[in-house]
């Protein structure tokens, strides 16, 4: 009895010694928050980071927690309050959070977090049913200019990236963005049915969501929001059709407020190493995400600009009261 206890004690000591050995001390033990329910885009990003960080040896362990609610408003509030100054925590976020925070009048904003890096982005597309008379983005622009209320756009939730894009499109072609007839659906599935069924004029979504239908010839893509043509995608950009609409649904990772510059550097370096690892590249390929790595101050700058742009658009369509 005693000897077995002794043995157990020995094993525990050995474990503890092993854990605090010199090699392990350099490795990170991170906590990563996905401010959304399991399964969504942010959760998948967090879990992919977990996989890549561990597989590439950057971190010894990564623990993913889910704090769902209100487009990330609940998660970021908890993150900013409870993780303050903790250099071992990070949170995944993205474009949608910018709009959600503005619309929910969240007391916590993205100005409070420490930006680390943008990771991925997805290009947006506008589609029409195959039998629609609209053939190009210019046709749609003409229709919008003729009578904006009669052009119905189907897309994701109100104030999300699809909605912002509809408003930007209308504004860019010279129509009154305030009057857009945008019909939000929950999830790409429902909106796709409305588009295929010819209930709406056009649909807006991430390219991957509609790619299968476009290839099958059931939907016609009028344009994508990338700056240049995407490799392997036979769809013209809006830019080359004379409409200055460049936009991407990006996802990024941020750290808590109040961390030291050294702590920030450790996290930034870890994320940079992860992005360059084969494990991460493999995941990007599997999930069909585009690498959009942008680190350090460049990302902080980008984030600021996006916050201004999105808030302006949401004000123009009346979703955010100024």
């Amino acid at each position: 009895m005693i000897s077995s206890r002794m043995r157990l004690f020995g094993a525990v000591v050995a474990l503890l010694l092993g854990a605090s050995g010199p090699a392990a001390a350099q490795q990170l033990e991170l906590k990563l928050m996905a401010p959304a329910a399991p399964g969504g885009g942010w959760d998948q990003t967090a879990r992919s980071m977990q996989q890549a960080l561990v597989a590439s040896g950057v971190a010894r362990s990564v623990q993913v927690t889910n704090v769902p609610g209100a487009g990330g408003s609940v998660g970021i509030a908890q993150f900013v309050n409870s993780a303050k100054g903790d250099g071992n925590q990070m949170m995944v976020n993205g474009f949608v959070m910018v709009g959600a925070l503005a619309m929910n009048k969240s007391p916590v904003t993205l100005d409070q977090v420490t930006p680390i890096a943008r990771l991925t982005e997805e290009i947006q597309v506008i589609v029409v049913p195959a039998n629609s008379p609209l053939k190009t983005a210019q046709d749609l622009a003409a229709a919008v200019k003729a009578d904006i209320a009669k052009v119905t756009f189907a897309g994701g939730s109100a104030g999300g990236v699809d909605h912002v894009m509809a408003a930007l499109f209308a504004g860019t072609v010279g129509a009154d963005a305030k009057k857009i007839n945008y019909i939000p659906f929950s999830g790409g599935g429902e909106s796709l049915a409305a588009i295929l069924g010819g209930k709406v004029t056009a649909g807006i979504s991430g390219l991957s969501e509609y790619e299968g239908q476009i290839k099958a010839g059931k939907l016609r893509a009028l344009g994508v929001t990338s700056a240049q043509r995407l490799p392997g995608v036979d769809i013209p950009t809006f830019k080359e059709q004379g409409i200055d609409l460049v936009l991407a649904n990006w996802r990024s990772v941020v750290a808590p407020p109040g961390i030291t510059p050294e702590q920030r550097k450790v996290l930034s370096d870890a994320v940079e190493k992860m992005v360059k690892s084969d494990a991460w590249k493999e995941i990007l390929k599997q999930k069909g995400w585009d690498d959009a790595y942008l680190g350090g101050d460049a990302f902080a700058d980008f984030l600021k600009k996006e916050i201004v742009r999105v808030t302006d658009v949401l004000k123009s369509v009346g979703l955010v009261k100024s």
């Binding site: 399964g39 609610g69 619309m103 599935g189 295929l196 069924g197 209930k199 599997q286």
Partner: protein, 500 residues
């Protein structure tokens, strides 16, 4: 048609490989287990398993996911029947009669009719998936917002079947549910309603939290409050543990009707599993030859909704496989599963990877069979749960309900809501208000509202759109007839009585 048979036979060969059979078994087992826990649904399970399975071959893991899906749909009903705690919102209708049966010592037949009904419905619906998918998806896509609104009208009219004896009390309950449905961000304008500045409320009230609070917690409180009065005697088993000939006779028609509701509505992009279960429940209540048993444990009220909820699970796969349209949380996760292997479900998948699609369809048949094999022998074990002394049983239920809620949404606000709904459930029982209409209001209200507003936004504000679509006009007609028929019949009855 012959092609379909050949393809299905080939799919069977794929699914029957020992490894794939094993995956199906694991899936069904996991699905049943998570279905039993309120709050933890199949979607969450698939989400957590995704990273684990990405090293497996695509066929195997998709087969496992399908098993989880079917298993989850079935598992939710076990707790609904035994301890009045619906594991998923789709098994709420099952709890209404099922739990009454269990309390009357007929838990065995209730579990059996739900297992066999699930099997029958799942099998028929899977056949439907194999043969009707392309045709059905065409119909589903043409189902527009105005048609959904009309369908909701039919559902609202039939809800009165769950009202109990007093329409006023029933309507009161329904409106409490409708009000709860308004909480959160308005889907069409993005503005917060009735959230009182609490961020957790912005997403609205979770159906499972409400259902578990009202049904399980409310009941536990009620039972505790009555302990000093006459003690309610629970008999685990009275009569046969298995279905009698009479039970079979009363079950088979509800199974088939439930399937007819579940499969097509499940295939609709915004159909879901809840609406067909309610429609099936109220249909059975209207058609039954034993109306006096409803509210006290009528087997039809278990057989129909259970069949409907499994059939709708198969229905959901129709738009997923043919269009790449995920129409439920679980289907969305399965789509993510497909994409992880670089497969894009949609019009091309049947052509590009027939082995995979038909393997999946075939494995659904097998998963169904396994569910039956796994669950029928367990019926005897499950009903013994009821022999646990009441204080222990209800304490266990409370722990169980709390755990499930926390697992789904770890937040104090969510837990407070569970407790508040529990107290509400207790008061409603105490003052004799029916509980089901509250949950129904929460589910149907937001759908009806957003679909109507969507329809009007698309038609630029013209209400005639509701009558111009033939589908919507027909459904509205049905709703009108269902609404007026009782009055007209009553009037005719009086007319006849006068003649005599």
């Amino acid at each position: 048609m012959m092609d379909t048979f050949a393809a299905l036979a080939h799919g069977m060969a794929v699914a029957m490989q020992p490894m794939n059979l094993l995956y199906a078994l694991i899936g069904v087992f996991l699905g049943t287990a998570v279905g039993v826990l309120p709050g933890i649904g199949p979607a969450l399970t698939v989400a957590l398993l995704l990273p684990v399975t990405y090293k497996l071959d695509p066929g195997g893991s998709l087969i496992m996911f399908a098993g989880i899906y079917y298993g989850g749909m079935y598992g939710g009903s076990t707790t609904a029947i035994l301890i009045n705690t619906p594991g998923e919102s789709a098994s709420m209708a099952t709890a209404l009669e099922g739990n009454k049966m269990a309390k009357a010592g007929r838990g065995g037949p209730a579990l059996a009719t739900s297992a066999i009904g699930s099997f029958v419905a799942g099998t028929i619906a899977t056949i439907g998936l194999a043969f009707l998918a392309p045709w059905l998806v065409d119909f589903a896509v043409r189902f527009g917002p105005e048609d959904y609104f009309a369908l909701m009208c039919v559902a609202f009219v039939t809800v009165s079947a769950t009202f109990g004896d007093s329409p006023v009390r029933g309507l009161t309950s329904l409106f409490i549910g409708l009000t709860l449905g308004l909480v959160g961000i308005d889907k069409l304008t993005g503005q917060a309603r009735l959230a009182f500045g609490i961020p957790e409320l912005l997403d609205g009230v979770e159906v499972t939290t409400l259902a578990v609070g009202l049904f399980a917690v409310g009941e536990a409180l009620y039972v505790a409050s009555r302990r000093h009065h006459a003690e309610e005697k629970l008999e685990p088993v009275r009569g046969s543990l298995w279905m009698t000939r009479e039970d079979w006779r009363r079950s088979w028609k509800p199974w088939l009707r439930g399937t007819l509701f579940g499969f097509p509505i499940g295939a609709l992009p915004a159909g879901g599993a809840e609406i067909p279960t309610f429609l099936s429940y109220s249909t059975e209540r209207r058609l039954t030859k034993h109306p006096e048993e409803f509210g006290k444990g009528a087997i039809e009220g278990v057989a129909g909704p259970e069949a409907a909820n499994n059939a709708s699970a198969a229905g959901t796969l129709v738009p997923l496989l043919t269009l790449g349209l995920p129409t439920s949380a679980t289907a969305a996760m399965m789509l993510a599963g497909f994409q992880q292997y670089g497969l894009n479900p949609g019009p091309l998948l049947f052509a590009e990877r027939p082995d995979l699609v038909w393997g999946l369809i075939a494995s659904l048949f097998i998963a169904n069979g396994m569910l039956l094999v796994l669950n029928l022998p367990l019926v005897g074990l499950w009903v013994r749960l009821l022999a646990i002394p009441q204080p222990w049983l209800y304490a266990g239920i409370l722990v169980f309900a709390t755990m499930g809620t926390i697992a789904a949404k770890p937040s104090v606000v969510e837990l407070s809501m569970l407790a508040a709904f529990g107290v509400m459930g207790f008061l409603m029982r105490r003052f004799d208000f029916p509980i089901a209409p509250v949950v129904i209001g929460l589910i149907l209200g937001p759908i009806a509202e957003s679909q109507l507003r969507r329809a009007l936004a698309i038609s630029l504000g013209d209400p005639m759109v509701l009558l111009q679509s033939p589908m919507s006009a027909t459904l509205l007609g049905i709703a009108l007839i269902a609404l007026l028929a009782p009055f007209v019949l009553k009037g005719l009855g009086r007319f006849k009585a006068n003649e005599d």
